[in-house]
């Protein structure tokens, strides 16, 4: 956590709630995009991201300033995603929602059709835990240790799920988007 963030956290805890916006603004895209990649539905992604912000504000007092603020936000979002995922939709429902939103999904406009298709199609073939690990490690660039911290699991578990996820990703890309591998051959 850098000095600027530390100062902003202190200001918010001191009662200056206006300092919360500059504190979380650098992560607003990250949180919304990650939520969208997890649930594949823009409205639900907004709901997850909004709940993440609310919880971050409520529990800012318990934030350990030795930790990374970004990882703390990611951890909250993963918890929200899991609780909402358990409440609202199973895998089948998520796929159904994603299919319904294919034509008029604002995410399509915002993210770009090509990447959306490729990445989300690959994510669709992963289990929820594999998806979480893959997104945090390979897309967001968190280390194995950070990923384990965010997901509150062991590094061994992260390695196991990551290994499975990558093996599946290779098969999916090879089968559906062979052009993505062309450049390296």
């Amino acid at each position: 956590m850098d000095e600027k963030e530390t100062r902003l956290v202190e200001l918010v805890l001191g009662g200056q709630t206006n300092a919360f916006e500059p504190l979380v603004t650098p992560y607003r895209r990250l949180l919304l995009t990650l939520a969208y990649r997890l649930c594949r539905n823009v409205e639900e992604a907004k709901e997850i991201s909004q709940e993440t912000m609310l919880r971050a504000f409520r529990y800012l007092g318990s934030f350990d300033r030795k930790r990374s603020f970004k990882n703390w936000l990611l951890q909250i979002e993963m918890n929200v995603w899991r609780s909402l995922g358990a409440r609202t939709a199973d895998e089948g429902t998520l796929r159904e929602l994603a299919a319904q939103n294919t034509t008029e999904d604002p995410g399509e406009r915002l993210m770009g059709n090509e990447v959306r298709e490729k990445l989300l199609a690959c994510l669709d073939g992963l289990s929820p835990r594999e998806r979480e690990v893959f997104l945090l490690r390979d897309i967001e660039g968190r280390s194995i240790k950070e990923t384990a911290g965010v997901l509150r699991t062991s590094e061994i578990s992260v390695r196991v799920h990551l290994s499975r996820a990558r093996a599946k990703i290779r098969e999916l890309v090879k089968e559906r988007f062979p052009g993505l591998m062309e450049g390296r051959r």
Binding site: M111, R166, R185
Partner: protein, 211 residues
């Protein structure tokens, strides 16, 4: 190393997450195995392609919605910092403390089992079963009936009974014509040496004596 074993490592190796020792062994294998080498390259290409694409294009909040969200957040109240003396102790300290207690507990159990004598705690011994004269104080007709079986032998009130004469118990054998009216029993604890002496008449009324 065979391909089936190496292939399990390729996904982690392609993302630079394999340990250095395993990575060296894998690289040695890849030098001579084109199939595994191709698989590694394919996976790297897939990961690089997805990372590059994902990094370029992200989802963002419409500005009005973001402002609305921030306004809603600010209307909340942050919960106060939890103040607990226990929370100041780091988790590692808890873990070490628990481990020390566990080790001490196990050591105590082991030492106790090594040092304590491996015998039964009580030795029941019938000291005498000899016939004796009827008690002067416990005539058959006057003896109190045994009341509730639960009271025998620990709750019988014997305040109205005269104490049995120890000399009577020590009396030698009597003639064969007499019937046995008294029986005594002594329990001795081997651990403490405590002796408890019980004497019963034929109505099963009893007297306890402790040294």
């Amino acid at each position: 190393m065979n391909c089936s074993r190496v292939r399990r490592w390729i996904p982690l190796y392609a993302g630079a997450d394999l340990s250095a020792r395993k990575a060296r062994r894998l690289e040695k294998h890849l030098d001579g195995c084109t199939d595994c080498g191709r698989e590694t390259e394919e996976l790297r290409a897939a990961l690089d392609g997805l990372r590059a694409g994902a990094g370029r294009e992200t989802l963002d909040w419409p500005e009005a919605e973001w402002k609305g969200l921030m306004a809603r957040v600010k209307s909340e109240k942050p919960r106060p910092r939890p103040v607990s003396p226990l929370s100041a102790i780091p988790r590692k300290a808890w873990a070490y403390g628990f481990a020390i207690l566990l080790v001490l507990g196990v050591a105590t159990l082991i030492l106790r089992s090594l040092l304590s004598p491996p015998t039964a705690s009580l030795l029941s011994e019938i000291v005498t079963a000899t016939p004796a004269q009827p008690s002067r104080s416990l005539k058959t007709v006057e003896a109190l009936p045994v009341s509730d079986p639960r009271d025998v032998p620990f709750r019988v009130r014997r305040s109205r009974l005269e104490p049995l004469d120890r000399a009577l118990l020590a009396a030698g054998p009597v003639s064969e014509k007499t019937t046995q009216n008294l029986m005594s029993m002594t329990l001795v604890s081997q651990e403490t040496g405590l002796k408890v002496h019980w004497t019963f008449n034929r109505n099963f009324e009893w007297k306890e004596k402790k040294p």
